[in-house]
C-alpha cells in the first residue's frame, strides 16, 4: 500500500512539476558494486555527450552562478573500500569527485551499530586507512560526514558539535581539512534548521540528499539526488528534472519516492 501511494505521488509530481534538464546537477552514491560502477560510467558518458563537465562539490558550489555552464558533481557517502576501484577510471577521464567520510571507520571503536546505520554492511565493506591514503593521494575532494552517522535530528546541539569535532580531529591526523559536509541520511527531515546553522560554522558547503530538489541549488547549500542504479535513464532523468520542492517542504518527504 505504502509503495502504491509513493508511486501515485511520484506520478502526480512528474505530471505537474517536470521541468527540463537542469544545468547544475549534483548526484550521490554509497557502496560501489559492479553494476553501480557500470552505471556511473554510463551516466558520465551520457552527460558528457550532452555537454556537462564533472566537478567536485566545492567547485560545483563555486560555479553555481555561472549561468549557462552545465556541470555535475558526483559524491560518495560513508566510506567504502570499493571506492578505490573508481580512482583509475576517474583519473583516465579527468573527473574530480567528492568522498564524504565518517571518521569512526578509522578508530578502534565498536562499529556494529554504525554498520547497521549505513545499511547493514559488514565490517569488511568499509574502507581501511590504506584506502583512505589512496583517496588522499588522489586529486579528489574529501568531505566530512560526522563521526558516526547518527541522524542529526536525534542529537542535541552539543552532541552534534561533538560528532563534527571528532570528525574534524581525526581527519586532521591525515592532514585532511574538510570544507564540505554531507548530512547523514540526506533528507531535510533528518536535520533541524538550527543544526544547519551550526554546520555552517564549520563548513562552507552543506549537502542534502533527496530527489526533486535540483532546481533549488543555493551557494553553500547543495541539493544532491541519488542516482538509482536499478532504474533506467528515464527514471533517473525524472528524478533530476522534476521540481518537487513544494511537496518536499510541505510533507518533509520526497515527492518522487
Amino acid at each position: 500500500m505504502k509503495k502504491k501511494i509513493q508511486r501515485l505521488v511520484r506520478l502526480i509530481n512528474i505530471l505537474f512539476f517536470k521541468k527540463n534538464l537542469p544545468e547544475k546537477i549534483s548526484l550521490y552514491f554509497h557502496d560501489i558494486d559492479g553494476e553501480t560502477f557500470k552505471s556511473i560510467k554510463h551516466l558520465i558518458a551520457i552527460f558528457r555527450y550532452q555537454g556537462y563537465k564533472f566537478v567536485s562539490t566545492t567547485e560545483f558550489n563555486n560555479r553555481l552562478n555561472y549561468n549557462t555552464e552545465k556541470i555535475i558533481s558526483l559524491s560518495f557517502d560513508d566510506g567504502f573500500k570499493t571506492w578505490k576501484n573508481l580512482l583509475s577510471f576517474f583519473d583516465q577521464n579527468d573527473i574530480t569527485v567528492t568522498f564524504f567520510i565518517n571518521s569512526i571507520i578509522f578508530t578502534n571503536e565498536d562499529k556494529s551499530s554504525y554498520l547497521r546505520r549505513i545499511g547493514d554492511h559488514q565490517h569488511n565493506d568499509i574502507m581501511s586507512i590504506d584506502d583512505l591514503q589512496l583517496l588522499i593521494k588522489s586529486k579528489h575532494e574529501i568531505g566530512a560526514h560526522t563521526h558516526s552517522h547518527y541522524i542529526c535530528k536525534s542529537l542535541s546541539d552539543d552532541e552534534l558539535r561533538k560528532e563534527i569535532d571528532k570528525n574534524i580531529q581525526i581527519f586532521k591526523q591525515f592532514e585532511i581539512e574538510p570544507s564540505t559536509f554531507a548530512i547523514p541520511f540526506g533528507m531535510r527531515r533528518y536535520i533541524k534548521q538550527n543544526q544547519i546553522h551550526i554546520l555552517k560554522e564549520y563548513f562552507k558547503v552543506i549537502c542534502f540528499g533527496e530527489p526533486g530538489m535540483q532546481f533549488r541549488q543555493k551557494p553553500g547549500l547543495i541539493e544532491r539526488s541519488p542516482w538509482i542504479v536499478d532504474e533506467d535513464y528515464k527514471f533517473n532523468l525524472n528524478n533530476i528534472s522534476t521540481d518537487t520542492h513544494y511537496f518536499n517542504y510541505l510533507f518533509r518527504r520526497s515527492g518522487l519516492g
Binding site: 527540463n20 554510463h42 558518458a45 551520457i46 555527450y49 550532452q50 528515464k234 528534472s241
Partner: protein
C-alpha cells in the same frame, strides 16, 4: 554507421555502441569522405576494438548509398543503425532484440530523448496505424532502426533515388510491403537535432519527404 565530418561527436556515438549490454555484433563504420579528423578517430577505435570494421569512400556518396554499401558488407542477420551525432543508451540493442523475438516482428525502432532535453519522440504517432501515419509523417527514428537483413534485401534495401529522406522511403516501403515494424515505448536513444542533415537541409528533406508521401520518384 555512415559518418561524414563528425570529429566532435563520433567518439560518443562509437562508445555508446561499444558499451551496449548486448555485445555480439560487428560494428561497420563507413567514412563518407570526411575532410576533418573523423577518419583518424575511427582508426583509433578500430585498433582498440576488433568488433569495428572500418571502410571509406573515395568520394562523398551521401548517406543512402553509403548505408547500402554497409548492408552489403555486413555479415549478421540483423542490421542496427546508429547516427554519428547521436547516442545509444546501454540497453538499446538488448531491448530491441528482446522486442523482435517477443513480438515476432521484422524490425523495430525506439522512442528517443532529444539531446539536452527530457522531451521524447515520437509521441502519439507511435500508437497510430503505421500505414496511415506514414502518409503524413515518418514516426520512426532512423538512428534507432534494428531490422532483419533478409527483409531489407527483399524490399531492395535503401532506394538510392532518395538522396534525402531515405529513412522515410525505407519505412514506407517496409510498411507498405506489410512488413511488421514496431516502436518500443521505452526511449533508448538520444537524438541530436542541431546542425545535422535534417535541420541544415530542411527544404531538400521536405521535397524528398513529399515524394514519399505522393509515391513519386524524386
Amino acid at each position: 554507421m555512415s559518418v561524414r565530418n563528425a570529429e566532435n561527436s563520433i567518439n560518443f556515438a562509437i562508445e555508446s555502441i561499444l558499451d551496449q549490454t548486448y555485445s555480439n555484433f560487428e560494428f561497420l563504420i563507413l567514412d563518407d569522405y570526411s575532410t576533418d579528423n573523423t577518419y583518424k578517430i575511427l582508426e583509433k577505435y578500430q585498433n582498440i576494438d576488433n568488433r569495428i570494421k572500418l571502410f571509406n569512400n573515395d568520394i562523398n556518396l551521401g548517406l543512402t548509398r553509403s548505408l547500402n554499401i554497409l548492408i552489403k558488407y555486413s555479415k549478421g542477420d540483423f542490421i542496427a543503425r546508429q547516427d554519428a551525432d547521436d547516442y545509444s543508451l546501454p540497453l538499446r540493442l538488448e531491448k530491441q532484440i528482446e522486442y523482435i523475438e517477443k513480438y515476432k516482428v521484422d524490425g523495430c525502432t525506439t522512442k528517443t530523448f532529444f539531446k539536452n532535453s527530457i522531451k521524447t519522440t515520437p509521441y502519439l504517432s507511435r500508437l497510430l496505424n503505421k500505414k496511415l501515419i506514414l502518409l503524413y509523417k515518418n514516426p520512426f527514428i532512423h538512428g534507432t532502426l534494428l531490422i532483419n537483413k533478409e527483409v531489407l534485401k527483399n524490399i531492395g534495401n535503401y532506394d538510392e533515388s532518395f538522396y534525402y529522406a531515405q529513412d522515410y522511403k525505407l519505412m514506407s516501403d517496409l510498411v507498405n510491403s506489410n512488413k511488421k515494424v514496431g516502436i518500443l515505448k521505452r526511449p533508448l536513444y538520444i537524438l541530436n537535432t542541431e546542425n545535422n542533415i535534417s535541420t541544415n537541409k530542411r527544404a531538400e528533406q521536405a521535397y524528398f519527404a513529399k515524394c514519399v508521401q505522393k509515391k513519386l520518384n524524386p
